[in-house]
Symmetry: C2
Subunit: 313 residues, 2 copies
């Protein structure tokens, strides 16, 4: 552990970071401010410290909660996000959708505050992001430099609006929508489009972070046993890499756990009723493990494969 | 019901709205787009429709979930928000804190998208907000015109940072922080300040919305029996109004329900363990009912009293 701590009191570095609160990764990824007279650095040429992979896993597990919370917030609204765009609400002279406009503006703000200097964060609209206004902000790197070039957010964005939201709306418990909405409003409730865009962006950010965490997973696995991966990397054998990265029992555990979380966090909690014996759910609980099986885990593995393919560059 | 629906096909109105997904209020608060050839309007001189108060209550109940989810996200971070400001991370030439800078920028964006034209939304930094970029956007009003002048967000902001966050950190289950954080980092983990500000703003918005919903509660109660309130309003008798608005059994039910929600949503869900028999919580569950008892409900009643005092203006 000591070996990875380098004292660099001469650096004048301040940081605001966007990081999972889980520990070890953060230790490597960020500078402490100079006032503490030392800076934790980590070079990707060093081996990862003991417990690193466990901490990556802990972060992934906690991020499941964030994804489920954000989807539970989104599912309050019965309206499909794509339908918002088709209603002509947005001025013609602005390109894109309400969600896109909002995401670009928020990412501009976050870039000013240095969010995308963190290796944990990946913007959806990386073009033309402004520089950070925070002076002297630097982040040390735990990942190989190739990490910056891996961003599959365009795929996440598309599948979110084309598949995830429509399926989410189908999995929604409609009793939750309130039975007293007049039919007139039910027919076209695009009055919720602003709130929906806010929720969509939170869901997208949670999914993006979880999926791009594949970079840390891949780095940890690689460092754990480089020889296992080197031949496949040199041969650019995606299929073999995918096999090496896939642990079916782990994936089964993830699905079981997220279903349990969906049942727990997604309850409609009623007073004076036995919520445990007769639970009502905001989302059909099977939606969440299916989301992980069909999208989150395959996309995470895609990130891992892309990272490993460039790991020896 | 019919009486409140006025058809106004000549209006050219489009809307993006920021509304709770609960029904009846939205019906009154928002225009449907012209493409549907009719607009739902509601005048505050009309009586509220049947079920209106129930729908206000349903929205309040669902907003409890949002508050708890946002606090559960915030409590991932053990660092006090005020400490972030004291670390000198933010450039001297920018006033305020990281959270304030972020909130002002986000509210500027939301104002452009018309968020604060909704009677459900109240900005924390209302000065100098830009106009909406959405053409022809208008919202009909359900509340008395005095509603616009009632905004206690400055109090919510202050108590959030001075009391709620410090108590939340104390109520945090420290096992959740991961035992492998090196002491060096534990000593000063301000590397999380960017993420913390994001969470703080979501918590503040959820609290603000729930508290300012007092306007709808007060309007519903007033319309239900104006004579009950008129004497106290004319006498400007805050104490009597507060008594008229207070239902101790309802408040006890709210506290019981939010504690149940805190225990349900706040579980650390573990696989292969009996989470029901041996639950672990991210936040000590008693924190949530105390928050409602000490802050959310009194502040909501303050909004109600202020609204009623001006209801006959």
């Amino acid at each position: 552990m000591e070996a990875m701590l380098k004292l660099s009191p001469h650096l004048d570095i301040k940081s605001i970071c966007y990081l999972s609160p889980k520990p070890m990764i953060s230790v490597h990824q960020n500078f402490l401010p100079l006032t503490r007279s030392r800076v934790i650095m980590y070079s990707s040429s060093s081996p990862t410290p003991p417990g690193y992979l466990d901490n990556v896993r802990n972060s992934l597990i906690r991020q499941e909660d964030t994804i489920i919370f954000s989807l539970l917030e989104r599912v309050q609204y019965s309206y499909d996000s794509v339908a918002c765009d088709n209603d002509g609400l947005f001025p013609d002279d602005l390109d894109g959708s309400i969600a896109e406009y909002m995401a670009v503006q928020k990412e501009t703000l976050y870039a000013k505050l240095g969010r995308y200097k963190s290796e944990e964060e990946n913007p959806f609209f990386p073009r033309h992001l402004p520089r950070s206004i925070l002076p002297h902000q630097q982040y040390p790197k735990i990942l190989h430099r190739c990490a910056d070039s891996i961003n599959i957010n365009h795929k996440i964005w598309n599948i979110y609006f084309k598949e995830i939201v429509p399926e989410l709306i189908k999995a929604r418990n409609n009793d939750e929508s309130g039975s007293s909405i007049p039919e007139l409003v039910k027919a076209g409730n695009n009055y919720e489009c602003g709130s929906i865009a806010v929720c969509d962006i939170l869901c997208l950010q949670a999914l993006s972070k979880r999926i791009h965490y594949g970079k840390f997973v891949a780095e940890a696995k690689f460092q754990d046993d480089p020889s296992e991966y080197e031949a496949a990397i040199k041969a650019k054998d995606r299929k073999l890499l995918l096999e090496l990265l896939t642990y079916e029992t782990v994936e089964a555990t993830v699905k079981k756990r997220v279903e349990l979380k969906a049942k727990t966090f997604g309850q409609v909690v009623k007073i004076d009723e036995d919520n445990v014996a007769n639970p009502t759910y905001k989302i059909k609980p099977s939606f969440i493990p299916k989301l992980f099986e069909d999208i989150v885990m395959p996309f995470t593995k895609e990130v891992q494969v892309e990272y490993l393919l460039r790991r020896l560059d």
